[in-house]
C-alpha cells in the first residue's frame, strides 16, 4: 500500500473530474469533427455509428446492469422504424400510408415500441442467462418474418421515402442536423442510463443480476425489475430506430434480420459488453470496418476479395472474442496495465480487474467500481 502513496494522496473527486473532462473532450471533439470531414463521413460513419451506438447501449444496459443479454433490441429498434414508416408515408405502394405528421409518427413509434417492449419483457424476464438470450433471439427473428410476411405493414420490399420533420430534413440536404441530433440523443441516453444505474431501481437491478435468489428472498420482485429494465431498454432502442428511419429514409425486414441482430451483438461485444461507453466505441469501429475493410490492400492476395467481406468481419469478431472478451475496452485496460508501474496493480481492488476473468458473461461487472463479484456464467 505504501508504494501507492503517491496515488493515495490524490482525492477521488479530482479523478472523477479528470475522467469527466475526457468524456467532455470526446463529445467536444465529436462536435467539431463535422467541420473537418466529408459529408459522407459525418452521415455514414458518425451518424450511423452514434445511432447504432444508442441501440447497442440499450443492449449493454441490460447486459451490464441487468445480466440480460437481449437480442430483441434490433427488433424494437425496427418496430419503431416500421411504425413511423407506416404512419408518415403517403402514396407509397407498401404499408398503411397514414400520412401523419412526422412528430406524431415519432410519438407513435416510441410509444408502441415501449409498450411492445413491456410485453416482450414480461414474457422473457422470467428466464435468465442463455435461455433469455435464445428467447429474445427468437423474438427478433419472428419479428423479421412478421414484417416480411404481413404485407399490410411492410412485406420484404419494405417502406421507402419516409419523411423526417422539416427541421431535420434529409441526410443528403443537412447531414449535420441529423448528426448533432444523434449526438445529443447519445449524450442524453448515456447520462440518463448512468443515472438510472445509481438510483435505488438501478442498484436493486444490479443486485438481481448478481444474485436474484437472494434479492427475491429479500422481498424484491425480480420479475418486475427485469421487465421494467427491458421496457426502458426498449424505449432507448426505439429512439435509435427513430434516428435510423430519418437517416436511412427506408426500412425493410432485412434491416432487422438475423444479420443485423448479430451485428448489434457484435457491436456490443467488440466495444465491450460490460460498459455503456463500449456501445459507441463498438458501433463506430463496426461501421468503419464495414466501410473501409474492403479498401485494405493485400486481402485479394489471400483470396478474400471484397465479395467476401462478411468473412472478414466474422474473422475480426472471432479474434476479438478469443483474445479480448471485454472488447476494445478490455484491450485498453491491458494496455494501461502494461504501461503503468507495477505497484499500481497491487493496489487494485480484486473486483475491478476484469482482464482475466470470464468476462463476456450474462451477469458481468458492476459499473460503480464497487468490486462486486463477477458471475461465472455457469451456475
Amino acid at each position: 500500500m505504501t508504494a501507492a502513496d503517491n496515488n493515495a494522496s490524490r482525492p477521488r473527486g479530482r479523478v472523477v473530474t479528470f475522467e469527466r473532462a475526457l468524456l467532455v473532450f470526446a463529445v467536444a471533439l465529436l462536435l467539431v469533427l463535422p467541420a473537418f470531414t466529408s459529408d459522407f463521413f459525418v452521415s455514414f460513419v458518425l451518424t450511423q455509428g452514434l445511432l447504432l451506438g444508442i441501440a447497442a447501449a440499450s443492449l449493454i444496459f441490460l447486459a451490464a446492469y441487468g445480466g440480460m443479454v437481449s437480442l430483441a433490441q434490433t427488433l424494437l429498434f425496427g418496430v419503431s422504424g416500421f411504425v413511423i414508416g407506416n404512419a408518415v408515408t403517403t402514396g407509397g405502394s407498401k404499408g398503411l400510408n397514414l400520412g401523419l405528421d412526422p412528430w406524431l409518427g415519432v410519438a407513435l413509434g416510441v410509444g408502441i415500441t415501449t409498450v411492445l417492449a413491456f410485453f416482450l419483457g414480461a414474457v422473457a424476464s422470467r428466464s435468465t442467462g442463455l435461455y433469455f438470450l435464445m428467447i429474445t433471439l427468437t423474438f427478433g427473428v419472428i419479428g423479421f418474418y412478421f414484417f416480411g410476411q404481413v404485407t399490410t405493414f411492410s412485406g420484404f420490399g419494405g417502406i421507402n421515402q419516409v419523411r423526417a420533420p422539416d427541421f431535420v430534413g434529409t441526410p443528403g440536404q443537412f447531414p449535420e442536423r441529423l448528426y448533432f441530433l444523434a449526438l445529443a440523443v447519445s449524450v442524453i441516453v448515456y447520462v440518463v442510463l448512468r443515472y438510472i444505474a445509481r438510483t435505488p431501481f438501478g442498484l436493486s437491478l444490479q443486485g438481481i443480476r448478481d444474485d436474484h435468489v437472494r434479492m427475491s428472498s429479500m422481498g424484491y420482485n425480480v420479475w418486475v425489475h427485469r421487465t421494467l429494465a427491458f421496457t426502458l431498454a426498449g424505449f432507448v432502442a426505439s429512439l435509435a430506430g427513430v434516428l435510423f428511419i430519418w437517416w436511412n429514409r427506408q426500412i425493410d425486414p432485412a434491416s432487422i434480420g438475423m444479420g443485423e441482430i448479430l451485428a448489434l451483438l457484435i457491436i456490443a461485444v467488440i466495444g465491450g459488453i460490460n460498459r455503456l461507453e463500449g456501445a459507441w466505441v463498438g458501433a463506430i469501429v463496426f461501421v468503419m470496418v464495414n466501410n473501409y475493410v474492403r479498401d485494405v490492400p493485400g486481402l485479394n492476395q489471400i483470396g478474400l476479395t471484397e465479395a467476401r467481406f462478411n468473412t472478414i468481419i466474422g474473422l475480426i469478431f472471432l479474434i476479438i472474442v478469443l483474445l479480448s472478451p471485454d472488447g476494445f475496452i478490455g484491450i485498453g485496460q491491458r494496455v494501461v496495465r502494461l504501461l503503468t508501474p507495477r505497484a499500481w496493480h497491487t493496489s487494485q481492488a480484486p473486483g475491478s480487474d476484469s482482464g482475466s476473468g470470464p468476462s463476456v458473461t450474462a451477469g458481468s461487472r458492476s459499473d460503480s467500481g464497487s468490486g462486486s463479484a463477477e458471475t461465472t456464467g455457469n451456475k
Partner: protein, 338 residues
C-alpha cells in the same frame, strides 16, 4: 399465476379444437367434420415435419444440455451437411444435373447421408477442440465464438456452393406418393418420420442404457461431480459435440432432400431448433420431442386452418405458441432453471 396460465392454455386448446372441428369454414382445409381427409393430411404433415425438427433440434439440445453451449453454428452445420451430401450424391450417381429419383438407389442417398453426418460431426468436434474447450464455463463467450464461426461459414458456403437453391434427390424407392383410402400422401415424408423415430429411440437407448449415456446424463446434472469421480469428462464433451453436430449434418441431408438448400437456410433451421428447445426445455430429449411436435402442429395447422386470405399471418402463431408456453413454464415444458 400458474392456474391462470393453465386455464388460459386449456381454453386456447379447446377453442383451437372447436375451430378445427366445426367452425373452420372458408379456410383452405375446411372443418374436420366436412373434410376429414384434409385433417388427416394436415395432421400427418405436422407429425412428419416435427420429425425433421426433432432430428435437428436433438443435436442442439444434446450439446447444450451437457456443455451449456448454445451452438449458434448449428444451422451452419446443417447447411454444410446438406451441401456435402449433394456433392457426394452427384459423384455417386455420376451426373451433376437433372438427377432423377430413378437414378438414385438407396445407397446413393444413405452413403452421402452418413458421410455428411460424419464430416459435420468432425467439423463440430474441431470447432469444440480448437476454439471452445479453452473457455469452458464461460458460456456467453462460447456462444459468441459460435456466432463468429456461423458468420464465416455462411459467407464461405455462398462462395463454395453458390447461393441459389439446390436440392438433394430422395432415393427413387421413396420418392413417390401412396393413396390409402382416398388420402394421397408422400412416402418420403413418412420415411422422414420413420428416421426421426429411429434417431429418437437410438438416442434414448444410448443415453439410458449405455455407460457413456449414463456419464452424459450425470454430466448434464453435475459436471464437476462427474469429473471428481475420475471420469474423463473432456472425452465425453468431445463425443457429445461430435454427435450433436453429426445430427445437424444428418438433418441437413434430410432437410436438403425435403425442402432444398440455399443461402439463408442455415438461419431458418437454427431458428427452428431454438424454438423447439425453448418450448420443450433445453437439454432434454423429452423436451425436444415435445417442442418438435408443438412446432410441427403450428407450422402445419396455421396455414391450413386460417381463413384463406390470412394464411400469411401464420408466423404469428409460432409467436403465440412461444408466448403461451413461456408464460406457463419459463424454462420450457421439460426444462429446469439453470
Amino acid at each position: 399465476m400458474q392456474w391462470i396460465a393453465l386455464v388460459a392454455g386449456w381454453s386456447v386448446a379447446a377453442i383451437f379444437a372447436a375451430w378445427v372441428l366445426v367452425f373452420a369454414n372458408g379456410t383452405p382445409a375446411e372443418p374436420l367434420v366436412s373434410q376429414p381427409g384434409d385433417f388427416v393430411k394436415v395432421l400427418l404433415n405436422a407429425l412428419t415435419i416435427a420429425g425433421l425438427y426433432f432430428i435437428v433440434a436433438s443435436g442442439f439440445t444434446l450439446i447444450f444440455g451437457l456443455m451449456r453451449v448454445v451452438n449458434l453454428a448449428h444451422g451452419s452445420f446443417f447447411l454444410l451437411g446438406g451441401y456435402i451430401a449433394l456433392e457426394f450424391q452427384k459423384l455417386m450417381v455420376g451426373k451433376s444435373r437433372n438427377i432423377l429419383g430413378d437414378d438414385v438407389g438407396v445407397f446413393d442417398w444413405v452413403i452421402p447421408l452418413l458421410l455428411a453426418a460424419m464430416i459435420a460431426g468432425i467439423l463440430g468436434l474441431i470447432m469444440q477442440q480448437v476454439f471452445l474447450r479453452w473457455f469452458q464455463g464461460q458460456d456467453m463467450r462460447e456462444t459468441m465464438i459460435t456466432i463468429a464461426i456461423s458468420v464465416i461459414l455462411a459467407d464461405m458456403m455462398v462462395s463454395w456452393f453458390g447461393g441459389i437453391g439446390v436440392d438433394i434427390q430422395w432415393p427413387g424407392l421413396i420418392d413417390r406418393a401412396i393413396t390409402v383410402s382416398g388420402v394421397r400422401y408422400s412416402v418420403s415424408r413418412l420415411f422422414m418420420l420413420g428416421v426421426a423415430i429411429v434417431v429418437g429411440v437410438a438416442l434414448w437407448a444410448w443415453l439410458q442404457k449405455t455407460r457413456t449415456g449414463m456419464v452424459i446424463r450425470a454430466g448434464v446434472d453435475d459436471t464437476s461431480m462427474v469429473q471428481a469421480l475420475g471420469i474423463n469428462v473432456q472425452l465425453v464433451f468431445a463425443l457429445a459435440f461430435f454427435v450433436g453436430s453429426a445430427l445437424a449434418g444428418m438433418g441437413g441431408v434430410m432437410g436438403g432432400s425435403f425442402a432444398g438448400l440455399a443461402a439463408g437456410v442455415d438461419g431458418q433451421w437454427l431458428l427452428n431448433s431454438i424454438i423447439v428447445v425453448i418450448v420443450g426445455g433445453l437439454g432434454s430429449l423429452k423436451g425436444a420431442l415435445a417442442g418438435s411436435l408443438l412446432l410441427g402442429v403450428v407450422t402445419a395447422f396455421a396455414p391450413s386452418y386460417l381463413p384463406a386470405g390470412f394464411t400469411n399471418y401464420s408466423i404469428i402463431f409460432t409467436f403465440v405458441l412461444l408466448g403461451a408456453v413461456l408464460a406457463w413454464r419459463p424454462y420450457g415444458l421439460f426444462g429446469t432453471p439453470e
